[in-house]
């Protein structure tokens, strides 16, 4: 559908992309949109590349995002931003974490972590906004909230109030973690 907005969250298994997308989807549901969300479980979670796709609008058909169809990509890891870049539509935006997580071929010394990601994305004419979410999560004393810091950074490209995001966080995150996640979200939102 023409009025559907497509958001792809890309990262590495274990980084919390699913939780972040659940918060996003809850917010969109609260706002009365039709929402579809697609995620992959199973073996890919063992340190492999993972994507979660969220689409919203008045009425959403396909649950997945085709190449060239994403309005936004939120990448949790630098290399994953490049891996998913072809899903972005012309004029779309990528918010990307500067975090570099070496993959298996890099870990065992067969390949090098690419140093030219920024250039390659620039060559494609993509608007990329890099954020260092990991450092902020470290400052907050829990690197696991890196995902919500990123969600905060991403929130500024969407037209929703901080209150709406906070409400969604409170619905998705276990009560004892809400406070930390709200702080993480707020810190992230100031990055972009």
């Amino acid at each position: 559908m023409a009025n559907t907005t497509s958001i792809m969250l890309a990262g590495v298994g274990g980084q919390g992309t699913i939780l972040a997308s659940r918060i996003l989807a809850q917010l969109l549901l609260d706002k009365g949109y039709d929402v579809k969300m697609s995620e992959v479980h199973g073996m890919a979670q063992r340190g492999g590349s993972v994507t979660t796709q969220v689409r919203y609008g008045e009425q959403v058909d396909a649950p997945t995002i085709a190449p060239g169809q994403a309005d936004f990509i939120l990448s949790f890891e630098a290399m994953e931003a490049a891996r998913t870049a072809h899903f972005l539509k012309p004029g779309g935006t990528i918010i990307a974490n500067t975090r570099r997580i070496p993959s298996l071929p890099i870990l065992i010394g067969k390949e090098e972590y690419p140093d030219d990601i920024d250039e390659r994305l620039a060559e494609r004419g993509i608007d990329v906004r890099w954020v260092d979410a990991y450092s902020i999560a470290e400052e907050l004393g829990n690197t696991r909230v890196e995902n919500v810091v990123l969600l905060g950074a991403f929130s500024t490209v969407l037209p929703f109030t901080e209150g709406a995001w906070k409400k969604a966080i409170a619905q998705v995150v276990p009560p004892r973690h809400v406070e930390l996640n709200v702080v993480a979200f707020q810190r992230g939102s100031r990055l972009t």
Partner: protein
Amino acid sequence: MKSLMTGNEAIARGAWEAGVRFATAYPGTPSTEILENIAGYDEIRSQWSVNEKTALETALGGSIAGARTICAMKHVGLNVAADPLFSSAYMGVNAGLVIVTADDPGCHSSQNEQDNRNYAKAAKLPLIEPSNSQEALDFVKVAFELSEAYSTPVLFRITTRLAHGKSVVTVGRRVDVKPREYVRDTSRFVLMPAQARARHGVLEDRLIQLEDWACTTRLNRVEWGSRKLGIITSGIAYHYAHEVFGEDASYLKLGMSYPFPKKLVEDFAAQVDRLVVIEELDPFIEDAVRAMGIEAEGKAIIPRLGELDSAIIAEAFEKADSKSPPPEDVTGRPPMFCAGCPHRGVFYELGKLPVTITGDIGCYTLGSLPPFAATETCICMGASISAGLGFQKVFNMLNPADPKRTIAVIGDSTFYHSGMTGLLDAVYNDVGLITIILDNRITAMTGHQENPGSGYNLSGQSAPQARPEEIAKALGVERVTTVNPYDLTEVKKALDNALADPHPSVIVSRAPCALLKREAVRRPPYFVDQDACRKCKACLKVACPALYVEDGEVHIDNASCVGCGVCAQVCRFGAINQTEKTGEN
């Protein structure tokens, strides 16, 4: 109230609303969460079975005994359960029985992408296919009505995108369906040849009646748009097609595609100029349309392989606006053993041996990848042992003086699922296969489901604990050794002893999955002493995500290291040390 639900959650909810009282399954991606969600409903007794065959037989028993029952499995699980599946069609049901098959187009987490709609036709069962979570919830309820109205199990087919995709649903209330009285009826429930022949006739008659039902049910509907293009579609493919064509096409959306609603198809085909079938995987609908003598396009333009998406369909119709740019060529990111994974040490040692290693289904299938490059086969659940037996038997035959040895590697849950029978085969035929049971105390890959060895059941209550060692001994294996997989010397010694023994033997490698919070032990992390390090990078051969190289130096990430110590045992220079001693030395 509206909420977002995965297809799996919606099926669980639909089953609950339909008055289901009993549910069985063996976990398998993408079906696992159906039973996990059902376990949250107090009115339903639910259980993990040891495999899909026992799950379906148990479900069939439950249905005949009088309770509405649901049974869920992944697509390849239905192969395991195919025997009772075919019998169940002959017998029919008492209370409703719905069998969910979760197919995996694209092989996200499977060894094949078989299209289980073919099972409906082969076993002669009605087939229901929802397209989104709301339909999943609604159609399950219809499936139970249908099951009881026609005394037939119903095959309910979903795919990964539906199982794990979330969409908006409005929930309803549970109806209290009274249990049905069980009445002894050997003419139905004892499939001796004489009864079976008669039941076959009943089954064929039932299919004719079900086809009439398929032509009038609201599960099958026509949406009129432009009549220049008529699309027959089902499942998730409907949404991809609708995304591309909207009002520019008319749709015959089949929620029940077997028995095939011929009358509906005939009427629809007569009213459109061009007829195209859009479906994932096999030409299941297309073949049925063509068998009616109606000309339709389908797999000539729509791929048979993998998942569809809206871009693939747009392209098939040459409707794509512009070709999207090609993907960036980026270093791959295959899945790998987690930091502290107990499989690591075993595969590190196995990778060094001149043996053939037959593998199985689980996280440890990753042992086939570099740098371990150990495992050589992965066929299906349980096949490591039985295929390994075949390897060893032929190796023995071809080179009796010095046969190459075979080692089968299987996880705990997979061993209970269908490894035990193969092991008995090895003992019975006295074939010197070495079987390693990787007992990580949980069904790990599908997301930590309990199993007969974990000590808990699906509801989280404590349960009798199966011991692989005792099972192996009871099956007649004489050499049964237990090792700590974090101790490479111990692993190596057990392997050497087993290799010296010409008879079947079993090594149980026991340590909890590193992600299993209730059992895993987190020890102080290790670090690399850069002064002692000779930069040989031997430690990288354990492929641990906690190790990384920066400016030519290997470092260990404090946050991800769980202190398993495997990398330290690989270092010949004593350069990898624990940050603080645990005090037990």
